[in-house]
Symmetry: none
DNA sequence: CATGAATGAGTATTCATTCAT
DNA sequence: AATGAATGAATACTCATTCAT
């Protein structure tokens, strides 16, 4: 029976969650012009991502966001129109990232089993690291996805994963490695479930079972477990 | 509440989401006493469950809850002290149910494989039906589980599943049916993930892929898929 | 050639205009209960009438209204829902008054000529005294009457004048005193025009011609002139 | 103006009210130089006239004006100094027109009765067509005429009508056609009242009585009615 | 002459909660 | 036990105006 990684009480953030990734928000000393709309927008967007992710759409305070920004509240409205507009911009940015990175894996060049493994590992790592993304998706679901629905780029961006999976399945079937009765969207849902839940619901899980699933020591085990589960699921049985 | 001259601008809850289960909130004409504290409390609690589940803790409005109640706002404070107090009461009520039902399955009396199947199917069905529960867990995680932590009955109630799984694994290993390198808490996490995600994140999933995972037609397929995935995962390979 | 009543410069109000009518807003020392919703509402409504009339809908400040009230801004929203709701309530009140008073004249009991004279004189006096009413109508027209349209009682209240005029015309024609080619609504428009314009546009008129048409010394002359004009207009010529 | 993520909520002017007269605002493709200060000014002024007339001084938005302009907000301040300065420029332009046109009638060359008829008809037509003028006068009165007072050309321009009327009255009295107890300014007020009110207050009048006084079908009738009323009023009775 | 970016002081509105009855 | 009235502190958003280029 494996080790138990018990949680340090009080370590769970209700407050911001930096993900360990250095914020690129602070103005760089060199190229610092007085008028730099792109930087201003990016700055606002970065702060907003953290704030919305930490507090939710209704919980987040426009004033709080503005205060942590290099500019004023007024600029926030100047560029994003409203709290909801800013929230939508955050959603768009954040969803854009994961799909872009997925594309960089060049999975179509790998052998089906290795490709599947790479896809699952990438999905795992991304969710494990980008907690903001996970929280924002969660938040958006509480709002019935009504904001993301208005983001024009949203639907188009997501089909790419499905194509990747379709391609993997097809090649795997041809190679006699994968079963032929699987639906790519269902499979994507399965992979997402396994990678998302342990991050998104780690707090209640932690309190319920005294074990924080996002603990570094557990990460490797979970990663392996999930890859294993998916591969066993897709593999053709003889 | 006199708002005689206002033009109402789409107030009300974002999505009532009744789960198809008839609300037991409306007072039945017969057994209706003038003052029934228990019924009043239950009434408030039911409405609050819907409202918190639909809007989140910060999103829910005390006024909105009170309005849909048979009593007034004052009573809400009288019985539950504060918005947060009411929210905690809701959490307590909702978490109580699932674990109690799990016990009724008498899984220990079943053959390991059948027991595992029964457990997964129960978990699936429960999440599929109790959307409010799923939403509330989600919401609670956004708040870092800090409210559920104060619910005294919470921790105790959850260990029972782990015991059930431990028992299943032990018996399955003994019978040569299950592999022996699995951690029961990890396995529980896996089952939860698969059952929870498709409900909790069905909105973004639906908009992203044009397919609502909670659609009745998909339910049976997902159910079978998840059972299959878990059994393949725990099964001992030769 | 008659006297010129020149204007005192600087006497024209951009600020409130009490109309010389004592405000019934101050709480009476005797019957002053702590909780008196009716008085609270009336108080808010009175102050709002002055403020909207003096500043217009967009020009009026909710804070300014609240400040001159015995209660707080919050109560204003409690009872009237919004700035616009309050504005609508003011319109309703103010329009209600003129029509109610018109009814009190019992014009149907008078001889047609005397009735017509009475109606015109009443209309004149009302506009001359109730400058708030005149201003509010003006303001509402700048907004394309879109607020008054939503006041349910509005249309019903106004037909009464038309009935009064119809009755007068019919009786006057029968008595051979009035011409028979007049439309009652047109006639009402004419009377209104004559009584309204000299009050509503007295400021530009004053600056343009150096004579304030609302000056007390001019009032009697205008009153007589208007009655004269109307009677000459309706009278049957032989 | 970047408002990319906002959901537009019915901004724009309440009612464009073009009077059926084609706006001369759009730059014509041909004679279009790169920098034409006069055209820029005129363009701003035209847009501002519409906006102030539609929304009032407080209701109009500098941003809204600038947006409908061919230039930017900055230019507006460059040429007119402030919102109020622009408003005054609009007033000056608009008041200038009516008096100039009156002069073109050459009323002094007509027989008194015909002259009076011509004056009334002109006044009627002008108000009927120049709704912007009517609205702006109305707006200015809400502000106690304090802006028009500062328009230097204003007073001088208005005396001319009075002279016209004085002349008409004098000649009419001499010819035994007009009564001799009339004050020219009062008479001007009367004519204005009759022509102004039906345009300025047509919205409330319309909703109150279900009849739009500015409807083309009514125009001719009203025109005749008003001429008739004025002539009956000034005519000497035997 | 022309412009996009930036701003501080307001401005309407909302929210959880408590008081007086 | 129950209630309508009342409230202060926030909260999202707007507006006329100016700066840097």
């Amino acid at each position: 029976m494996p080790l138990e990684y018990t949680m340090k009480k009080g370590s769970k953030a209700a407050e911001p969650d930096t993900n360990g990734i250095p914020s690129d928000t602070a103005p760089r000393a060199d190229a610092r012009r007085k008028y730099d709309p792109e930087q201003t927008k990016r700055n606002i967007l970065d702060v907003a991502t953290q704030e919305f992710s930490a507090m939710g759409l209704t919980g987040a305070r426009v004033d709080a966001i503005a205060e942590r920004t290099n500019t004023t509240k007024r600029m926030l409205y100047y560029y994003f129109g409203s709290k909801e507009g800013l929230y939508q911009a955050v959603l768009e940015k954040v969803y854009g990232d994961i799909r872009a990175l997925e594309q960089d894996l060049h999975i179509s060049e790998l052998d089906p089993v290795e490709g599947m493994r790479a896809l699952v590992e990438f999905t795992f790592d991304y969710h494990d690291r980008q907690r903001d993304f996970v929280r924002l998706v969660t938040i958006e679901n509480i709002h019935g996805a009504k904001y993301v629905e208005q983001v024009k780029t949203f639907k188009g961006r997501n089909v790419t994963v499905i194509h990747t999976i379709e391609d993997l399945l097809r090649r795997g079937i041809e190679a006699g490695q994968f079963r032929d009765d699987l639906d790519p969207i269902d499979l994507h849902l399965m992979i997402s479930s396994l990678c998302f839940h342990r991050v998104g619901n780690r707090h209640t899980f932690g309190t319920a079972f005294g074990r924080d699933p996002s603990h570094p020591r557990l990460r490797a085990r979970h990663r392996a477990m999930i890859v294993d589960a998916v591969l066993r699921f897709v593999r053709k049985e003889d």
